[in-house]
């Protein structure tokens, strides 16, 4: 008899492994009958997972941690035995803002150090003449989109809570908001940056991997309690995901994978191919930027949960005042990611990652990240008002 499961997801390219696991039959081969439920908001995914309407979910990595720590919401301990995606975001700015940034740039604007200095100059100039602060959209308070924008801005000394406005916008509204001038830029996942570029109103300024080279973007999350009560189903799920991941990683399967994913996302499969191969058109003239690191969805280095990633997410949560810094919270955050379950089920051994930055994160600015010294990470940035809620208010 097969196990019936309900799993929630948001239509994004980094749900690929989950979608392939179901639609290519890997789940059925493990005796699982999975109903994939497409959702419109991370709040819905989180809440339905929390209250048990979903058995598992495709989730923003920082949300899995926030939910387990009870930040801004009811506390429901989740676990992450499998990582679904590394990277995949991009920062897009309006063509107007790009022109202004280019004017004041002191070097190659594709370098985030240069572009963030340019942004600081633009912000200072606007302040001087009493103009409205620039507004940037991101997808959720607990998201890499939020943290990557902030990291980039703060690298040049900007205070994202004082000097600009940050607003949460559902991804489908991003492009429209850029077109209407409601926001001057945004950080979002695929395909929304490309949509803004194609419509001629935006320009991709940076891939997320140019801000942080290697960050856990989406995870496969389950309630800790459920996982404890259903170890065999969990193991079957993970075997199905691991096989789907290997399948999706194989370049020979690219068009099959794109044809599975595209209808689930409601986009043309060519867009999925462009995303998975990391070749994005960055401006309306058709210039293409390519990065092997733009997004990664398959293979052990992606899928094995890494406690350093959990520590990084917690460090961003602390840095931006969403939670206090404590050893206890840090330990609990890291305990959300469970490489032990991954190793036990999939028979992998603990060994160093084969690729990637030496500190596991590869941020473009600042000292190497040390998961054992989050206080050091936070103080290195000399935030003016750390340890209290400070996400920007829309006035």
């Amino acid at each position: 008899m097969s196990e019936r499961l309900r799993i929630g997801y948001i239509p994004l390219v980094d749900a690929t492994t989950l979608l392939v696991a179901v639609d290519q039959g890997f789940a059925a081969a493990q005796g699982l009958d999975i109903e994939l439920v497409r959702e419109v908001s991370w709040s819905n995914v989180r809440d339905k997972l929390n209250i048990g309407l979903f058995d598992a979910a495709h989730l923003l990595s920082p949300v899995a941690i926030a939910s387990s720590l009870g930040l801004g919401h009811v506390r429901v301990p989740l676990i992450v035995p499998f990582n679904l995606g590394i990277n995949g975001n991009a920062i897009t700015v309006s063509t107007d803002l790009f022109a202004v940034l280019s004017d004041v740039s002191d070097g190659d604007i594709t370098d985030p150090k240069v572009s963030s200095r340019a942004l600081a100059r633009v912000v200072a100039e606007r302040k001087k003449r009493g103009a409205e602060p620039l507004t940037f959209g991101m997808t959720f308070p607990f998201s890499n989109h939020n943290y990557q924008l902030r990291f980039w801005m703060a690298a040049a000394g900007l205070d994202p809570d004082e000097d600009v406005r940050l607003v949460v916008l559902p991804p489908p509204y991003m492009v429209e908001s850029l077109a209407s001038g409601h926001v001057d830029g945004f950080c979002v996942g695929a395909p929304w940056n490309s949509v803004a570029v194609d419509s001629g109103i935006g320009r991709i300024l940076h891939f997320g991997c140019e801000i942080t080279e290697h960050v856990s973007e989406k995870v496969f999350a389950l309630r800790e309690k459920w996982a404890g009560e259903n170890p065999n189903i969990l193991a079957a799920l993970m075997r199905a995901l691991a096989r789907a991941s290997e399948f999706a990683k194989d370049a020979n399967n690219l068009s099959t994978v794109a044809n599975i994913v595209a209808p689930r996302l409601g986009v043309v499969s060519e867009l999925v191919v462009r995303t998975l191969t990391g070749s994005l058109k960055i401006d309306a003239d058709g210039a293409v930027r390519h990065s092997e690191n733009y997004i990664a969805i398959g293979g052990r280095d992606v899928n094995r949960p890494d406690a350093v990633q959990a520590a990084w997410a917690y460090a961003q949560i602390v840095r931006w005042g969403q939670a206090p810094l404590s050893q206890d919270l840090c330990a609990r955050a890291q305990n959300v990611f469970r490489p032990g379950i991954y190793d036990a089920v999939l028979g992998s051994t603990i060994e160093p990652r084969l690729t990637g930055p030496r500190d596991g994160i590869g941020a473009f600015s600042g000292p190497d990240f040390d998961a054992h010294d989050i206080a050091g990470h936070v103080s290195a940035w000399q935030t003016k008002r750390a340890y209290r809620p400070r996400l920007s208010v829309v006035r």
């Binding site: 419109v40 809440d47 209250i51 919401h73 209290r388 829309v394």
Partner: protein, 214 residues
């Protein structure tokens, strides 16, 4: 759904009798469906809640909500702007009246009912759950009523479409085979019965054939 914060009731309203307190609650409905929002607003007004505002436009949603300064916010689960509301929880010290998410975790029946109906609610921190239970119940029943209306409307539309297809097929048969309207319909019905199909399916086949024979 999912959270009621413990805390005292709002002090400014604590001295009023129960019915007046409820009438004083400011309720914001965030809904892109103006029909459903209107149905809900009517229901709330009938129940004695006089301060009800609808927000149909989701642009600058938070600004609009702060301007209204509501005690309760109702929003459909299918609305992507739920994520926008999450930003409110980040600013507990920056705004006068922080908003917490509603529905006690222990009350799983009410959570289930709310999710099934497709609605979620947020209340200001400190507001007692009992005071908003009636609002949520009303919300659930109105959302369900709206869903029923919607599906009836869809059925009616489908029926109308079918009627049109059948009429066109009849017209074609009347012309091509020199039949009366009754005969044309009888022919469609008989064929449908013989082939164990719906009349509308036969009518569609007739129209396809008619297109090919043009």
């Amino acid at each position: 759904m999912v959270q009621t914060r413990k805390g005292s009731d709002l002090p400014t309203q604590g001295a009023l009798p129960a019915d007046q307190r409820d009438a004083a609650l400011r309720i914001a409905i965030v809904d892109e469906s103006s029909v459903r929002a209107a149905i809900l607003e009517d229901g709330l007004r009938e129940a004695g809640f006089t301060q009800v505002e609808r927000i149909g436009e989701t642009r600058n949603l938070l600004t609009r909500i702060y301007a209204l300064d509501p005690d309760v916010i109702l929003i459909g689960l299918e609305n992507p702007s739920r994520d926008v509301l999450e930003q409110m929880f980040q600013m507990s010290r920056a705004v006068k009246r922080p908003v917490a998410m509603f529905v006690d975790q222990s009350d799983s029946a009410s959570i289930q009912a709310a999710v099934d109906a497709g609605v979620s609610a947020y209340i200001v921190d400190g507001l007692k759950k009992e005071r908003v239970t009636s609002i949520l119940d009303l919300c659930i029943s109105r959302f369900n009523a709206f869903a029923r209306l919607q599906s009836e409307l869809d059925h009616a539309k489908d029926a109308l479409e079918e009627r049109k297809v059948i009429d066109r097929a009849k017209g074609f048969l009347m012309k091509a085979k020199k039949l009366t309207e009754e005969q044309a319909y009888a022919l469609l019905r008989k064929t449908a019965m013989n082939e164990n199909k719906k009349i509308v399916e036969i009518a569609e086949s007739v129209l396809t054939a008619a297109e090919l024979l043009k």
